[in-house]
C-alpha cells in the first residue's frame, strides 16, 4: 500500500503533505425490546490528504483511493486558495520521524467470532433485562466491534501502520409503572480489546434493570447547593468534559485572553489534585500509540499538585504556543483532519477511603454515573445516572434527575477530598468535538468530594 502513497507524496508541491488511509471492518448488533433492530456487517474505506502550501491548510477526503495523486493535487489547489487569505502562516512543531508497524494482540479476536455468536450473546443480555420485572417496558442493547487498519505517511518520512480494535457493549433499560413516567438506566463497557470484554456481563444486564426500577420510586432531587460526592464514573466524565476539553490548546492558541486564564503554574485545585492524559494504558479505548500526525503517545500532566502544568497539543498549536506536540492530534475517521483530543484522561488516586469521604458529609448528595455532560468553556453541566441523599454521613433514599452545574475553576477549587479508589473506565459512546463523534476515550477518577456544587431541580 505504501507504493501508491509514495508515488502520491512524491507528486506533492506543498511544503508539507500527509496521507492517511483507513479500512474499517465493523459488526453491529442492536436489540430494542424484543426486536433485533440492527444486524450489520460492513466494510468501509477511504482516505484523507492534508497539505500545507505557504502556510495554508488544504484538505481532501475521499472514498476511492485509486487516484491518490489526484487527491494530493486537489488538496494542494485548495491550500493555495487558502494561503492567499492568511494573515499568519501555519507552522508545525518538530517531531521525530517515525517508522513503525503496530498490530494489537487480542485474546479473542472479534473478527474471528461468528456474527451469530455476537447476536446470541446480546440477545441473552437483552432477555435478562426484559424478563427481570414486568415493569421493564423496553430495552436498548447494543454490541459493536470495529477494526481499523490505518496507514499514515508524510513528506518528512514518517511511515506508520497501526491497527486499532474497539469493542463495545451498551445496555439500556426503560421501566414504567402503570401511570408513572418512564425511567431509564444504562451501563456500557468499551475497550481496545477482544471479544472477552463483553462475555460474562450478566450482572451488568441485571444491574441496569434493577436501577431503572429503583428510579421508579426515587424522589426528584431538590435544587440547591450541596456537598456532592461523585463516584469514579461521574468524576471521570466530569474531569474529561469540564477540564480536559479546556486544556485542548486549539481552543485558545489564538486567543490571548483565554491564554491568560489558562496560565501555566496557576493554582486550580487542592495540592493533592493531579490530572493526567495518558496516551497508552494496555487495552484501553483511548489509546493512541501514534496520533494522526505520526506523533508518539505521551503521559501529560494537565494538573500537577493542584497547579496547571501543561496543555494538549497538535503540531500546529505546539508551534504557535512554543510547546511540544503531545500526541493528541486525533481524527475520528478518514473523513476528518486531526484536531486536539484527549486519550485516557483521569484524576490520580488520593488517600481517603470511601467511608472517610462519606462520613464527614452532614447533608449532601452521592451522584453516581453519567448520562452525559456538556461544557462551554468554564461552564459545565452533568446529568448523573442516579443519586442518593446523604444525611449525617449515611446514604439515604435514591434520587432521580440529578443535574450538576457550575464554573469549572470554582469547582476544582472546591474539591475537598480525593479517594484512594482510582478506576479508569472505558464506556460506550465517545467524545464529541467540532463534528467529530464518537471518538473512543477513557475517563477515570477515584471518588471525589466537592463542596458548594449547584444541583438543578425543581
Amino acid at each position: 500500500m505504501y507504493d501508491n502513497i509514495e508515488e502520491a507524496l512524491g507528486r506533492s508541491e506543498g511544503d508539507y503533505t500527509e496521507i492517511r488511509l483507513e479500512k474499517e471492518f465493523r459488526d453491529t448488533v442492536k436489540y430494542e425490546k424484543e426486536d433485533l433492530i440492527n444486524l450489520d456487517s460492513s466494510v468501509e474505506s477511504g482516505g484523507i490528504v492534508r497539505t500545507l502550501v505557504s502556510g495554508g491548510w488544504g484538505i481532501a477526503t475521499f472514498n476511492s483511493t485509486e487516484e491518490l495523486g489526484d487527491k494530493v493535487d486537489q488538496a494542494t489547489q485548495v491550500a493555495r486558495t487558502a494561503s492567499s487569505y492568511l494573515s499568519e502562516p501555519v507552522e508545525l512543531a518538530d517531531t521525530p520521524v517515525e517508522e513503525e508497524s503496530i498490530q494489537p494482540e487480542l485474546e479473542r479476536d472479534f473478527r474471528k467470532i461468528p456474527l451469530e455468536e455476537k447476536r446470541k450473546l446480546l440477545e441473552s443480555y437483552n432477555e435478562l433485562i426484559l424478563n427481570f420485572d414486568k415493569r421493564i417496558k423496553s430495552t436498548k442493547a447494543l454490541y459493536s466491534d470495529s477494526y481499523r487498519e490505518l496507514t499514515y505517511a508524510n513528506t518528512e518520512g514518517t511511515r506508520i501502520r497501526q491497527s486499532v480494535p474497539d469493542v463495545v457493549l451498551s445496555l439500556v433499560s426503560v421501566a414504567k409503572s402503570d401511570d408513572g413516567s418512564p425511567q431509564v438506566a444504562h451501563d456500557s463497557v468499551g475497550e481496545a480489546t477482544g471479544f472477552e470484554l463483553v462475555t460474562g456481563r450478566e450482572d451488568m444486564a441485571t444491574g441496569v434493570a434493577r436501577r431503572a426500577l429503583e428510579l421508579l420510586d426515587a424522589e426528584p432531587v431538590r435544587g440547591g447547593e450541596y456537598t456532592v460526592l461523585l463516584n469514579p464514573k461521574l468524576a471521570g466524565v466530569f474531569i474529561h468534559e469540564a477540564f480536559g476539553h479546556l486544556c485542548e490548546a486549539d481552543h485558545f492558541y489564538k486567543n490571548d485572553r483565554l491564554q491568560e486564564i489558562m496560565e501555566i503554574g496557576k493554582q486550580f485545585g487542592p495540592e493533592d489534585l493531579n490530572v493526567v492524559d495518558k496516551g497508552y494504558i494496555p487495552g484501553r479505548r483511548g489509546n493512541t500509540t501514534f496520533d494522526d500526525e505520526g506523533v508518539l503517545r505521551q503521559k501529560t500532566y494537565l494538573i500537577k499538585d493542584g497547579r496547571l502544568n501543561n496543555f494538549l497539543h497538535s503540531r500546529e498549536t505546539a508551534a504557535k504556543m512554543g510547546g511540544k506536540p503531545t500526541g493528541n492530534a486525533r481524527a475520528v475517521s478518514y473523513r476528518h483532519e486531526p484536531i486536539v483530543r484527549m486519550t485516557n484522561t483521569y484524576i490520580e488516586g488520593g488517600v481517603e477511603s470511601f467511608e472517610d469521604l462519606l462520613s464527614s458529609i452532614d447533608k449532601g448528595i452521592y451522584a453516581q454515573d453519567a448520562y452525559g455532560g456538556q461544557t462551554q468553556l468554564e461552564q459545565f453541566t452533568f446529568s448523573a445516572g442516579r443519586g442518593r441523599l446523604i444525611e449525617d454521613g449515611e446514604l439515604g433514599p435514591v434520587l432521580k434527575d440529578v443535574v450538576l452545574t457550575g464554573n469549572i475553576f470554582e469547582t476544582l477549587g472546591n474539591i475537598v477530598g480525593i479517594g484512594d479508589d482510582l478506576e479508569i473506565i472505558g464506556s460506550g459512546g465517545g467524545c464529541g468535538k467540532d463534528g467529530q463523534f464518537p471518538l473512543p476515550v477513557t475517563t477515570g477518577s477515584p471518588h471525589i468530594r466537592i463542596k458548594n456544587l449547584t444541583v438543578g431541580g425543581r
Binding site: K33, G56, R458
Partner: protein, 440 residues
C-alpha cells in the same frame, strides 16, 4: 442499478440506498482562516429480506458488489424475522431541492462570505473572538428497491455557523448561531448577523435573577429545550415500545390550544426540502399536535409495521439531524418541524412580563430522562426581564421542569417565526411558573 440486480438475484427482496456527496467546508478560527477542505463521499447501503429475514450491510468501495451482497445475505441468514416489505412506488412531490449555482460556489466565494461575517461582527466589537464554519454541499441520493421503486434527488445546501466568545477577566460569554439554505439567494445572513448583535447588546450588563418561579420566554433557538423531549413522545418506535408519554393520548388534548406542531419534508421557505425520506416514502406534511390535541405519530417502514400503522415518510438514516447517512439503518425521526406562530409580537410578550427570564441557549440539551419529559439545564445564554424590558445577562442559572406539564399551561406564542438550523421553524414561546435556580 447493478447492485440491486445482483442482490435481487440472491435475495427475495432488496433495497439500495446510494449517496454521493461533495462539499467544501471552510473554517475560520479566532477570526482567521484555518482550513479549506474538499470533501467527497460515495457510499451505499443494502437491505435484503431473504426467507423473511432482514439483512443489512454498507460499503464505500463497492467494486463488483460481491462483498456487500454476501455480507447482507450473511446477516439476513441470522437476522430478524420481519413481516414488512420495502415500500411500493408512490407518487412523490416534485419540489425543487437543488440549486446549481449554490452547488458550484467556489472556495473563494465561500471564504469571502465568511470574511464578511467576521468583519461585521468584529466591527461591532473588536474584542470578540469569532469562529465561523461555512459549508456548501451537494448530495445525489438514489433509492431503489425490488418492488420497482426507483427515486433520485439532488440536494444542495449552504450553511454558516458562528461561534462568538467574549472573554472577560471574571467571565466568559459565549454563544452560537447558524443559518442554512438550499440556495444562496435564500440564505439569511443579515438575519443571522442581526441576531448576533442583538444578543451582544442585551449581554452588556451582568445581572442575576433570584431563585424562584418565573415566566420564561424561550427564543426559537431556546425552544429546543422543550422540543427535544416532546418529539421523543411522537417517535413511532417509542409509541410501539410503550415508552412514549403520548403513546396512548391520540385524540386527547395535551397542550394549550394555541400550540400546534407540524412535521414534513417540504415547506415553502424551508432550507432543507426533500420529497421523500431515506426509504423512498413521500414526506407528507402532517399535524402531530392540532391545537394541542395529539393527532399522529412519526413512523418509518419498520416501526409502522410493528405498530400496525402506515409509514409517514419519516424513515431517516442517522438520527434526529439531517439523516441520509448511508451507514445507518433507517428509523423514525422528524424531518422538518414547524410550529405555527401566534398573534402577539415578541416585543409585546416581553413588555407583558414584570420579572422573568428569556432563554436562548442552554447546556445539557437532551441529557437526563428525555422520555419522561424532564429537563434540567444550565442557561448559557439567558437574559433577565424586569418591568417589561431586558435588563441584562444572567449566569450560573439552572432551569428545570417537565415539558408535558408545561405545555398544558397557558402558552403565549409570538407572531414572528424563525428558522433554527435547517429543520425547525418556530416562534418564541412564553410559559408561566418555571423553576429557576440561581447560584450566588
Amino acid at each position: 442499478m447493478k447492485l440491486l440486480e445482483k442482490a435481487s438475484k440472491r435475495a427475495k427482496s432488496a433495497e439500495v440506498f446510494q449517496i454521493e456527496s461533495q462539499s467544501v467546508p471552510v473554517k475560520f478560527t479566532a477570526g482567521e482562516l484555518e482550513s479549506v477542505k474538499s470533501y467527497e463521499t460515495s457510499g451505499a447501503a443494502l437491505r435484503v429480506i431473504d426467507e423473511g429475514q432482514l439483512g443489512f450491510s454498507t460499503g464505500t468501495d463497492l467494486g463488483d458488489g460481491e462483498e456487500i451482497v454476501s455480507r447482507a445475505l450473511e446477516t439476513a441468514g441470522i437476522g430478524e424475522e420481519v413481516q414488512f416489505s420495502f415500500p411500493e412506488p408512490q407518487k412523490t412531490g416534485s419540489s425543487e431541492t437543488f440549486d446549481g449555482e449554490t452547488a458550484r460556489l467556489s472556495p473563494e466565494q465561500i471564504m469571502e462570505m465568511g470574511q464578511r461575517v467576521i468583519d461585521e461582527i468584529t466591527e461591532f466589537d473588536s474584542e470578540l473572538d469569532v469562529n465561523v464554519s461555512l459549508q456548501r454541499s451537494s448530495d445525489r441520493i438514489r433509492i431503489a428497491n425490488s418492488n420497482g421503486l426507483d427515486l433520485s434527488e439532488r440536494r444542495s445546501s449552504i450553511s454558516i455557523s458562528v461561534d462568538v466568545k467574549l472573554v472577560g477577566t471574571e467571565d466568559i460569554f459565549s454563544f452560537y448561531d447558524s443559518c442554512q439554505a438550499a440556495s444562496l439567494g435564500n440564505l439569511d445572513v443579515d438575519g443571522l448577523l442581526e441576531r448576533i448583535k442583538q444578543r451582544l447588546k442585551w449581554a452588556g450588563l451582568r445581572t442575576k435573577l433570584p431563585t424562584g418561579r418565573y415566566p420564561v420566554i424561550f427564543t426559537p433557538r431556546g425552544l429546543t429545550v422543550l422540543l427535544l423531549p416532546l418529539l421523543t413522545g411522537f417517535n413511532g418506535m417509542n409509541v410501539y415500545q410503550g415508552t412514549s408519554k403520548l403513546g396512548d393520548k391520540k385524540g386527547k388534548k395535551v397542550a394549550d390550544s394555541s400550540f400546534s406542531l407540524l412535521d414534513g419534508g417540504v415547506f415553502p421557505d424551508s432550507p432543507f426540502n426533500r420529497n421523500f425520506d431515506d426509504e423512498g416514502v413521500p414526506t407528507s406534511e402532517k399535524k402531530l399536535l392540532d391545537e394541542g390535541v395529539v393527532n399522529g405519530f412519526l413512523y418509518d417502514v419498520r416501526s409502522a409495521y410493528l405498530a400496525g400503522e402506515e409509514p409517514t415518510g419519516n424513515g431517516t438514516k442517522g438520527g434526529i439531524r439531517g439523516g441520509s447517512d448511508f451507514r445507518s439503518q433507517p428509523d423514525a425521526s422528524p424531518i422538518t418541524v414547524v410550529i405555527p406562530p401566534g398573534d402577539r409580537s415578541f416585543g409585546k410578550i416581553i413588555s407583558d412580563v414584570d420579572r422573568g427570564l428569556l432563554v436562548d441557549q442552554v447546556l445539557g440539551l437532551g441529557q437526563g430522562n428525555v422520555l419522561s419529559g424532564e429537563f434540567s439545564n444550565n442557561v448559557s445564554v439567558g437574559y433577565r426581564i424586569e418591568d417589561g424590558a431586558i435588563s441584562g445577562r444572567i449566569k450560573n442559572t439552572m432551569i428545570a421542569g417537565n415539558v408535558f406539564d408545561l405545555l398544558e399551561r397557558d402558552l403565549v406564542l409570538a407572531s414572528e417565526s424563525q428558522w433554527v438550523g435547517g429543520d425547525l421553524k418556530a416562534p418564541a414561546i412564553a410559559v408561566d411558573g418555571l423553576s429557576v435556580v440561581q447560584k450566588d
